[in-house]
Assembly symmetry: D2
Homo-oligomer: 481 residues x 4
């Protein structure tokens, strides 16, 4: 394929603006990858509402650069403002999160009072809805700053809710070059790599060698075709299912000692058996999009499907994620251990600069890649990334009933973005009410919504909080507090 | 408007083929209406799998005709075969039902074992799904007979599931002239008539004087405009809601002494408050289309919304409906009491013959009247009926989230019809699984589906009952019986 | 059907604002009809840029009212401003025209220099395009005044280009109640009335008794179904065609002595033979929408299709149309002769007031009535008019190749409206270039367009006349004048 | 990107079935390319109705293989039947043509009698229409043979009319793996390569280095984006246009001494100036899709646009193309001169086998790549070719008026395919009549169509030649012959 011709060996100079640049684990990974690249060089401007953390990351970056293995030439700076971070940037990375103690803890605990258990709570369901409502104003601001400071930059978003954040960027600034990246689909590539090894006698198949046809929306993606080279490996799924026990295979309590993020692919298997098409996301995400798995009496019950619910305390205690590891690095005596991260951010930059084309999946506005989903909605499919930018690959349609489930979420996400631009709480409520996880009566739904809004009102800039949807007894009480 | 010119006073001669012509109450109403019409005259050919009952109806018809008030000239005959009934018919009336003791009793009781309570069970939910599966083969046969015997006749269907039966007729014979009629929308016209009387100081407003803009699907129709003459009465809904108490207003048990068909319009009010658009169907139907009202622990709990669940025994005991009344009439000494039935069947025939145009609502394939629903799916909107036939009036779009709920049902109904033509039980199961009332786990859903199919296999002609979807323990046991 | 109940015999009081109220012939017809109505009474406020002519019409109206036969109670006033005319109006009538000597004469004569002959020149082709461009700013102004002065009034437009004028009203004020009325479809109803008389031995069939299924756009409408009562008369078309000679049946010059508006239905017949569906508009309009009939060497050649080209002098000399007749009436000794005009304006008002429903055809934004044409574009189909307002009847799709021809014009009309709102001459030019009548090279097309714009620049308010599309030699010369 | 892992150095063995395998020039190119490939090896089975020519090609192939430079291991065989050629093939190449003397000569000369001049005559216009009508039955037969003999093979079609042939393959056998390849877009890549050299001071930019975003249909493709690496070169078009003279720049006769295939890009420039988007096909193709350039009085006049009309004698005299060259090779003493052909067929095979991904353009059924064109119609856009097969890249929408022109042709092509499957001459005629080149009256159009059908009836298998569309005087005469 066509590639950039460079006549000398010099690196291309770029500026990367990093919003949420105080983030712990993820920043380290990026620094690791940049340091090992010789094609690119330049500045990473870190911006974070937690300035202190950004400063620590800058230190960390500079420290990493001092290692011999750091062949790439990078400077890490701290930006005082969002505008400073973005000024003349070539690439912008977005990775932000509200303090879980003031937000996500409500997202998870209040619904649980109504019997609504969420395994993740960051994409759909009550938690995803509130997170979407908080994100729209924030991501409008970012898009406006991009338009102002670096209108042609490529913006790579890693923040959840992926779909709503990315969609908001385009709604605010339609000419933005933005894309949302997520690891979740890697899981199904790994499954196929395993199947190739198991059934095709192949050795060491890497997930990157597996090409899957992805379609759907972030965390609820589906795969209806998979190849390893020109070998069809999708047909192996039937063998895999036949060789496994029937699901569910666990009892509540069985997984008490496993990681909160354990995935036995039981939901994957079960959905495949129901619909005849393979889910691409992890089980803990999948269960939040459909009504069948989380209609439980307690969080522990979820374990029957081979997954665990992440408790809200974990979210609070482990935030900011990676803080300990970062401290250890900076304060310890050990040199930085460079790795092959498997992250694609640097591959994306190289591809966008015309160096080496990349076929991967991404969240991007629908312009035909999912012909049965609304035009402009952010969907997740394969894309080709090269000097032309990002071009989606057509992914085809979804099976009937599954299509309808996906469409329900797409419409709710579109509604939340539109409601956020208008500050219209009534409209947002309708998306909340029709989420499959909100399997309570209308009275309870309205009360829960009101309590969530009350609890997180400090993070709901621009929403009209005088809406009548909040106007009932319970909400009135909450407002008195 | 243009009307038929008739130069003399003679009646137009027609033949009416009545499939399900042994039906009790409904047949009497038709006889009542025909007897009082002078525009039409002719023969009513009654066909029923219960031949005896058709014969009794013929007797009843002839007896009614012997009254002086019977100014119309009609002959009632019993047809030995479906073909005989339809041969050269001008109009065909369809009103059939499988014996509840062998079908509907399962439709209601088996789901209840899984905590799925249904107030009606004839349109959606597990009961509606099974009824649809039984109906497709039957209505294919009828459509084929129409094509053969009376290809240009107008077919008026009264049978539930209305949407699936009517859709099946068109799928089998695309050139059929068929329409599905249902009283349910009358209820919202009555509500507006009441509001006009209450708030506009009007006297004796008849429901026929109210024009409503209907859209949606049978038993889940919505109204976003209402006029009495040129006066907008839709705006009165807000006053009505403001003047009522908040819903829910009842406790379980409160309605133990009321009719099973009681309707306090609490669900109507609640849905209006959630979505800002008024439902047109009765509350006991509405609750079956959404997840919010029937997620109860017992049938009695449903009463909190001002409605009751019709028990399956009632369905069995009261079938055939109207048997006692018919007996009394024929065997008693009292003359027949002619009434103004309010039924529109005769008005339809007169309109279709070009006599007097009729604006009313009907279930008819979508050809643009609901531009946001799939082309060809059977939808319920206003139509104009005249010598040209039936022409739908454009009804406009539904609000976002509500649209998605309607679409879910439309797709499931389309899926059930397509599955029925292929005999594909797997596909039918997917529609079953994604019905909002089926709020159980996938395992239970599959088991319940299998048990329902097993229990009603005698009524499932043409379905491939060897499908793997039935392949689990419970189903195996049932098959052994 | 539901109708307005009036408990007494009093007339409903209305105000009619008449924009273009100086118009001659048409105003007289309206006065004739109003005078004979007892259901309505009130004021007609006449507004015209030619104030003098409006004043004469007011006189004429008052004079007519003084006759005994004038049972309706009407007052005619002259409005000094558009706002005065519309203030609190219940109905607004639009019937305006630019002075032909400064506009239409160019529309016809300049294209003729390039071999482009137009039989009418008011809808499509170069003439229709320029007229559209002049109309958009004018009809925006009217719509804005309606929004200000009488937001709920019903606006009845009679002005050409019908589609573009009506579309502009909705584009400026989306909540407007506007409709475009045109007589053209009456012609096909008359044809069917003739056929019923000829082939069905019927006597005196009136065009109102014929119901046709109309679809398409103004002056290029099509009919695929026709009933007289419940009798299908559409099938008679084949007999009619078989009984006529082959077309074309005339030679240039044959019609020199006939009216400019002669119509032998040769084009109607020919198009029916090409496409198997019957055109509903008059031949002189039809030929302007397709490339086959006006590709002639002289205007006279057009006569081979049984029609004549109206010369531009006629347009100038006979404008204002009806001036002589009006003079004669006012200055003569003869009393006014009341007629049954056949006009539907008063029927429309009565229907909209809930008095008597009306099924007729109208130009109205597409909301599903033409499911294969763009949503919102103004299309012409049957509508039901009653107290609910105007509700389109679904008309179904057009045959393949014909659909494409209609779509070409719809897109051009949509483009012209959008271009007019932006003042974007380049975009308007693209619609001009792709009109089927503009069968010249791109160079000539651009030159002709420039010359037309130059010649009519005084009527092109709001267009950006500095566009580069005008930037060529010829245009430069013209600009010097 | 993911690539096939081959653990040894052996070639992949394939069978290539070549339909039209007697073709001269093109076969030699393929043999040249295969001989230089070490990744693949195997058999090429040549099938042609001209068996003798296939045999000569087999000889030629074997002779080429005997050269030292022929590092690939290939065997050339002659297949007696289509089935033999396709049996177990991995790849199928289609390159067929009817004898011009019995077909194309009519396609060009008969229309010219009516003033319809065609520069190519193989895609649209009267010639393209007739060629389409001849092709549908032939390509149905091929698709049926593929389904039978090699259902999973990849079929690469090179035959015109590209769109209709490829569409026919899919209509007959929906699961076929087929793609249509054409060089035409290379021309616009070459233009951009030139512009990069001229304006960006680049040296030796190859057309393969230019990435263009292609959309539209074969021979009427458009480009709205172009990159060289990550440099936008599309913006250079404005400079190019500004630096050239105004078009047209030639007079009739100016090009008498140039090649029939000369291309001065005047039409390209002119269309860019009219629509603001760049055509991707050569000028002699472009002019056949729009009404502006071929409305001439003689073939010579076409030269004003910098192109020439290929006379029908040339088509006859030079068919089979390449015969002389082939003879010289086989009979001469010179060794075969291997070249870099620039052809992509071998690259396609390697990509489809998972060896090296290829981003290029191709004709393929629309599954979202052109979201404003009908689903399933064959469109031309970029595709990614790899072990997964062919995946279209989304290309986005076309500008308004241009979209309409493309849509007209798409609909006509779809109509011709559908008509061909039904043998429905009437329907084919409607596509003929509405082609922009058929700018004659309906009478003449019908006569011309009849004469073409009469003249080529031997090649119109399966068409109902008794259709009334042929029923006029001229045709009657022709039928007598």
């Amino acid at each position: 394929m066509h590639q950039l011709r460079r006549d000398d060996q010099s690196s291309v100079q770029v500026k990367i603006g990093y919003v949420g640049g105080g983030s712990r684990s993820w920043a380290t990974t990026l620094m690791n990858d940049l340091a090992q690249t010789t094609d690119l060089a330049g500045e990473v401007a870190l911006y974070d509402v937690d300035r202190e953390s950004a400063r620590t990351n800058a230190e960390l970056g500079e420290w990493i650069q001092r290692h011999d293995e750091a062949v790439g030439d990078w400077k890490y700076t701290v930006a005082e403002t969002l505008s400073d971070a973005l000024a003349d940037a070539d690439f912008v990375i977005l990775s932000t999160q509200d303090p879980p103690g003031e937000t996500m803890v409500n997202d998870l605990e209040l619904p649980a009072e109504y019997g609504i258990y969420q395994t993740v709570g960051d994409t759909v369901g009550p938690g995803g809805t509130l997170r979407a409502m908080r994100s729209v104003p924030q991501y409008r601001e970012i898009a406006a700053a991009v338009r102002e400071q670096c209108p042609d930059a490529w913006v790579i978003n890693y923040t959840n809710p992926m779909t709503v954040c990315t969609r908001t960027l385009y709604e605010e600034y339609p000419d933005i070059n933005a894309v949302g990246l997520c690891h979740e689909v890697f899981k199904v590539q790994e499954l196929f790599a395993d199947l190739a090894e198991e059934y095709l006698d192949a050795d060491d198949v890497a997930r990157e060698e597996i090409s899957v046809n992805v379609k759907g929306i972030n965390h609820f993606t589906w795969v209806d075709d998979a190849h390893w080279g020109d070998r069809n490996v999708y047909d192996l799924v039937d063998r895999w299912v036949a060789d496994r026990e029937s699901v569910p295979r666990f009892d509540p309590g069985d997984l008490d000692d496993e990681s909160y993020f354990v995935n036995h692919r039981d939901v994957t298997q079960d959905l495949y058996e129901q619909f005849g098409i393979l889910p691409a996301a992890g089980d803990r995400h999948l269960v939040e999009f459909v009504p069948w798995y989380l209609d439980v009496e307690s969080g522990e019950e979820v374990q029957q499907w081979g997954i665990r619910q992440t408790p809200s305390e974990y979210r609070v205690d482990h935030w900011p994620e990676g803080e300990d590891e970062r401290r250890e690095l900076l304060e310890g005596d050990e040199p930085f251990e460079f790795t092959e991260s498997g992250e694609e951010a640097v591959d994306w930059m190289r591809a966008l600069l015309g160096m080496e084309p990349l076929k991967t999946h991404a969240n991007y506005p629908n312009r035909g890649q999912c012909p049965d989903l609304p035009d402009g909605a952010v969907v997740e499919t394969n894309v080709l990334v090269d000097g032309d930018g990002v071009t989606p690959l057509t992914a085809g349609e979804l099976p009937d009933q599954l299509h309808d489930i996906v469409l329900t979420h797409v419409k709710n996400q579109e509604t939340l973005v539109a409601a956020g631009f208008d500050g219209d709480l009534d409209r947002a409520y309708r998306a909340f009410l029709t989420d499959p996880l909100v399997d309570v009566g209308t009275e309870e739904a309205r009360e829960l919504f009101s309590r969530l809004v009350d609890a997180e009102r400090d993070y709901l800039d621009g929403w009209d909080l005088s809406s009548s949807v909040l106007d009932h007894e319970e909400s009135a009480i909450a407002a008195d507090d």
